[in-house]
Symmetry: C3
Subunit: 139 residues, 3 copies
């Protein structure tokens, strides 16, 4: 059974959802694996993954604004504040969303639903360089 | 190494947790794979997965009611409101719970803990047709 | 393709994050699998997994305190209270974090980011015996 690894380096500009579905699909096609699973992994603790509606951008904007209200910056209880006011909220938001997702792969394609897109969620305000790993396993 | 795929179509009646453990176990047995992993994947962004206590229904009722209080409908900040007041909360609840879960498989059985059940969590109020994918990978 | 299973029994003393990265790495090395994925699975519904910053303990302390404020004990809405005031919050915290994580494995090592550690998160106050499963799949 073949194993195929790829690394995606993504330069984020600021906080927000960054769609990576097309990059993943292209790499899955390149892998030659037609049936199995694809694991997506985010190598960070202040950025995360989420599989979210990819049709209407207002759903993503509302999701992001809601999470910002749930985990506000400058919470007086925070002690981990040396790396800036958006750092501790970023760790909490990562814990509440996803670090890995495993998606079935059939007929050479990710079996996402019609409205599902895979997103890297940058939780920091400043630009960052992020690494997403894809491992394709199957036959 | 064999790869076995199955699709479960589930008709939900309303918001709530819908146990799918038995269906998954039966399909795992049918797959003939005795050692490996089983990936469960929910193809939606307004329904999700969770592995929760399957003994006392009051734990699931409290969990659902708590999440409804955390993410109330008709939040005046929401702009994505065209699909009804329960739509945007459904996307948020999906982001906070799970789209994929991977469960070890040994001796032909899912290695869930004694009190663990796998649940499809319908977040919409109206009946929906949901698709859950199972991919079994191993030997 | 080899499949390697291991069970880790962890005795927790009280609520909090318990790092298991080193144990996982040692078992991955023992498995002989050099390329593939490692699935970590928590067999409980009142303890969970999270991949969090492993450098500064203040980030983990703030994360834990924040989740305790989000899901306080003795919420008057709870009906599932027979197993103690910390039981229902434990189920909710499990639903909000992770039961399974799948980490890419390359050159015989977990491909975690520089600051990532894998943690068992005990949500109960009393000591518990917890089982974490590791399944390594690859070549």
């Amino acid at each position: 059974m073949p194993v195929h690894h790829a690394t995606f380096t993504i330069h984020t500009r600021s906080q927000g959802l960054h769609e990576i579905t097309d990059q993943l699909e292209r790499e899955v096609a390149r892998s030659g694996v037609t049936s199995g699973v694809a694991t997506v992994f985010c190598r960070h603790t202040s950025a995360s993954l989420v599989i979210m509606e990819n049709a209407d951008p207002s759903a993503r904007a509302d999701l992001e604004a809601w999470l910002n209200r749930l985990v506000p910056e400058r919470d007086p209880h925070f002690t981990h504040t040396l790396e800036g006011p958006d750092d501790m909220p970023s760790h909490i938001k990562t814990a509440l969303t996803r670090t890995s997702e495993t998606v079935p792969l059939k007929n050479g394609r990710l079996q996402l639903g019609t409205w599902q897109g895979v997103y890297l969620w940058e939780h920091r305000r400043a630009p960052h360089t992020r690494e997403i790993l894809l491992t394709v396993l199957g036959e």
